[in-house]
């Protein structure tokens, strides 16, 4: 009876694993095929590795890949740093209105992008940063602060308050405590927050679509969307482009996935 139950369990698990992995298998095999091979059979692996689709995709998304790096890295780093500062303050200091302010900041996590789309576009146009790197970096920083604040605040609450008080008695001010005590203790937390923010900013599509025009500043996810071809759908080029676009976040998750999961679970507390 135990064996039958186990068999059924494993069967279900393997079935759903294959179901989830199939799109990735399809993407990878299609990227390495020629169009005739794709038309001939969609499910079989390629007979030989055709790299022409990658070359063609890279011609279109090479610059957007660089744009994404330029936009995502500083956004993730600065957003994480600012979230760390605010998280530190909210975890260790109480002042008039601190609870209300914290709730307001965290509520920012739940504001749907569509609700603020138009105001942000108008604002960036009015101040002259529309279709620039800054026009994307600043909103990404703003949107990453609420979750980073919550993340760091939860982490810093585990830092014993007596450690902070000891530093105060020893002569350290608030900035000094952050620099000498808090920051050195937050190494892994920092890295996890940067990776989480990197992932969602890199994979973002909507903001890249509305705040940029043309490949000069366009991030990679928007460029990948434009690979669909004017008259004929070039599946291998689209899949090659998608694979190249997904690679950075896939690599991050492959090596640091367990830390990211722990970080996300900590945010839920």
């Amino acid at each position: 009876m135990m064996i039958i139950r186990r068999f059924i369990l494993y069967f279900i698990l393997i079935f759903f694993a294959l179901f989830m992995l199939f799109p990735i298998y399809s993407m990878v095999t299609t990227a390495f095929k020629t169009m005739p091979e794709i038309v001939g059979s969609r499910l079989t692996p390629p007979t030989q590795l055709y790299l022409g689709a990658f070359k063609e995709a890279f011609d279109s998304i090479g610059r957007p890949l660089l744009n994404s790096v330029i936009i995502t890295l500083p956004s993730a780093l600065i957003g994480t740093f600012l979230g760390s500062l605010t998280g530190y303050v909210f975890s260790k200091f109480r002042f008039w209105g601190s609870d209300a302010l914290f709730i307001l900041i965290v509520l920012g996590m739940y504001i749907p992008a569509q609700a603020v789309l138009l105001p942000v576009v108008k604002f960036s146009a009015n101040v002259g940063i529309f279709n620039t790197y800054l026009g994307l970096i600043l909103p990404m920083i703003a949107f990453s602060i609420p979750s980073a604040t919550l993340f760091f605040r939860n982490f810093y609450m585990t830092v014993p308050t007596e450690m902070i008080e000891s530093a105060r008695v020893d002569g350290c001010g608030i900035p000094g405590i952050y620099r000498r005590i808090i920051l050195p203790l937050s190494g892994i937390t920092f890295a996890v927050s940067v990776m989480i923010n990197f992932t969602w900013i890199w994979n973002g599509f909507l903001w890249g679509l509305v705040l940029t025009q043309g490949p000069a500043v366009q991030p990679v996810m928007v460029a990948v969307n434009n690979l669909h071809g004017t008259y004929v759908a070039m599946w291998n080029v689209q899949m090659a482009g998608s694979l190249m676009a997904a690679l950075p976040t896939l690599v991050i998750y492959a090596f640091f996935g367990k830390y990211i999961t722990r970080g996300v679970l900590a945010q839920r507390k």
């Binding site: 450690m163 000891s166 530093a167 105060r168 008695v169 350290c172």
Partner: protein, 373 residues
């Protein structure tokens, strides 16, 4: 080093008054304990002196300088926390040097001072280790080193021995006392352990519910407790406290409780009647001031053994007199067992009498000088 003066210190947390109008003067170079049960306000008082809590009323002086509204770095105090609060990412050297790094002292000066401090505390060989690699006792010494290194006006210690095992606690008590004498430092430490307070401090402030019940030397606190709380809190085992009524029968004055009647010495009876308006008193006597015998002796009272607890070097016997139970310390030669009869008599020199309503001490046995105050 400096004296510390608290004038009418009051601290509230919402509706709770954690410290109520505390006035205290600690002399320069004195070792003082703030002693009391959990929640009595001793740690809050210490934190107010450190500047980690802002008092709602009252003033704090360190030396002649009023520091009530000053931030902690400006008060020239150092503090050792119960958990030591060592910085886990820094070595023991860096932890000790930290207060000097903050003040941007020259590297040579820092190196010399850390070396000297480590020698005093006997931790020179551990300076390159991080707190995670140190034992509890070593961590405590590193925390002390961090406090000592900048030679503050006052040292504040919050339950410094609480996290040590029993054996280490005893040895560290002596070391801390020696260190305080060596440095000539003004030290104020908080503890709930009266043995710690009695063995280490020169004077003890016994606190309860935010007020200081008594502030005096260990002898004064032990032998002349100001009230029932101090009498019951100090001493292990605690003082026996019996609610009784004064009964006059001709010239003999007795204490009546349950169905028992205890005649008291003439002097005590006369003073009690004179000082006490009502007849209700609480009679207190320490376990070591009761003698217990296996046979009836003159002026002894018959009792029954309730339980015997051997302690190794002595026995702790609980006796019952009606619904009243008394603890008695006796020698190993006492052989009576549970349920058997025994006889006890009291050292009336060491008897205490308290007002049942106010808890204040009415008289100290046959101590005429103490009773005349």
């Amino acid at each position: 080093m400096s004296k510390v003066t608290l004038n009418g210190l009051t601290k509230r947390f919402g509706k709770v008054e954690a410290v109520k109008n505390v006035t205290l003067e600690i002399k320069d170079g004195e070792f003082v304990a703030l002693l009391g049960p959990s929640g009595c306000g001793k740690t809050t008082t210490l934190r107010c002196i450190a500047g980690l809590e802002k008092p709602d009323e009252g003033d704090i002086y360190i030396g002649d300088k009023m520091v009530t509204r000053l931030s902690p770095p400006d008060r020239n105090v150092s503090m050792v926390f119960q958990s030591y609060a060592l910085y886990p990412h820094m070595t023991a050297f860096d932890n000790i040097a930290f207060p000097l790094w903050i003040r941007k002292r020259p590297r040579n000066e820092i190196r010399e001072k850390v070396k000297k401090t480590a020698e005093i505390l006997e931790i020179s060989e551990f300076l390159n280790r991080k707190p995670g690699e140190l034992s509890g006792g070593q961590c405590q010494r590193v925390a002390l080193g961090r406090a000592i290194i900048r030679n503050p006006a006052v040292f504040l210690l919050d339950e410094p021995l609480a996290n040590l095992d029993a054996k280490l606690r005893i040895s560290t008590r002596a070391e801390l006392k020696r260190l305080q004498k060596q440095l000539g430092a003004t030290m104020i430490f908080v503890t709930h352990d009266q043995v710690e307070a009695m063995t280490m401090a020169e004077r003890i402030a016994v606190m309860n519910n935010g007020v200081i019940e008594q502030f005096g030397s260990t002898d004064e606190i032990y032998q002349q407790p100001a009230n029932m709380f101090v009498a019951g809190f100090i001493g292990t085992p605690a003082m026996n406290l019996i609610e009784c009524s004064l009964v006059e029968n001709g010239r003999v004055i007795s204490l009546a409780f349950n169905t028992n009647t205890l005649p008291v010495p003439d002097y005590i009876g006369r003073v009690l009647i004179k000082k006490k308006k009502s007849t209700n008193v609480v009679f207190g006597i320490r376990p070591e001031d009761i003698s217990i015998h296996e046979k009836n002796k003159p002026n002894s009272y018959k009792t029954k053994v309730y339980v015997v607890e051997p302690m190794g070097n002595e026995k702790l016997v609980t006796v019952e007199m009606g619904n009243t139970y008394l603890k008695v310390r006796t020698g190993l030669d006492f052989k009576r067992e549970m349920g058997e009869n025994a006889w006890m008599d009291f050292d009336w020199n060491k008897a205490y009498f308290f007002d049942k309503n106010t808890g204040k001490t009415i008289m100290y046995g046959l101590n005429k000088s103490a009773n005349s105050k």
